[in-house]
Amino acid sequence: MGDQSQVSKHAAAQGAVAAGLFFVGLYFSVIAPIAEDYGGVNIAFGLPLGVRASLAAICGVAGAIFLLIVDDPKSRARRAAILVGAGLVLLLLGSYWGLFIAPPETYMGQVQRIMYVHVPTAWNALLAITFGFGCAIVFLFKGDFRWDAYMESSIEVGTVLGFLLCCQGAIWAKPTWGVWWDWDPRLTTTAVLIFAFLGILALRNFVEDPVKRAIWSSVATIIAYVDVPIVFYSVKWWNSLHQQQSTPNTVSSVFHIPLRLNAFAVLFLMTGFIMLRARVAALRLSHEIAPPPLLSAEEVGELA
């Protein structure tokens, strides 16, 4: 009984830390801009835009990584369910804001509204794959299969978000560039990234030995991760059709709120999906390494 209450206190403290980090993130990215734009009140402690945005991003990412690190894939999926639910609510709110409240952009008009789903998807796809990369390194050092489960799940979620990113990008490219797809550095490196991680997921399906599967896919993940900084810097290194990264100072403040609402929405969905998918991976592994069930007396008789 004492142990149980200790465990639930510990879990509550972990939940409070993550909730606190998410609150700080949402405060500086959504609540303070709403108070400023609609109430004319500055509640951001006089911090400059860049500092607020960095603080919000750091707190959001830290909250998600913290929850993933302390999560036990053998436990119930309560936190994951809360995250997915919160993500859906924020996504509805952010999308409503992006579609109906935010004004159209001067040059791109209505089409710019795609940014509110495209950019959060890009950030979180790269974040999921980065977490998978971290899990691969930790697995190779520790040999704990918990990290293998998280690597598999974060790679899968990152690949799904990467595929979604390409679909959204193609839809945005058609009215602005005149083509659905172009072999431009950013698009090409993103396609390479998706196919590399699809290959790793396929490799995991083909290898039956759990130890070999975990080691080979960890090494492959570390190698494939080399493409992530190339994707990120491709727009700076080469002459690209794709625009360079924006900063809070180069994006008008009226576009900040829906963009950041959706950024947190996709962050919550991504974290919740990784937690749920890690449970699938952990359960599959437990079936693979479990001893076969004992035979009944009739079955023993049949065999004899």
Partner: protein, 48 residues
């Protein structure tokens, strides 16, 4: 011809629909796989 994109709502709706569809389909697939694994685990326990 002035470098301004006019119209475009169809593309916006397409992007949001694709986003919602892929996220919902993936979410449902993860939950279905998790439920399958839970029921497989429960059957394994019963067999033991």
């Amino acid at each position: 011809m002035r470098g301004v994109v006019s119209g475009g709502w169809a593309y916006v709706w397409a992007a949001y629909t694709v986003t919602a569809t892929i996220l919902v389909v993936y979410g449902v697939s993860v939950i279905t796989r998790l439920r399958d694994e839970w029921s497989r685990q429960a059957k394994g326990r019963q067999a033991q």
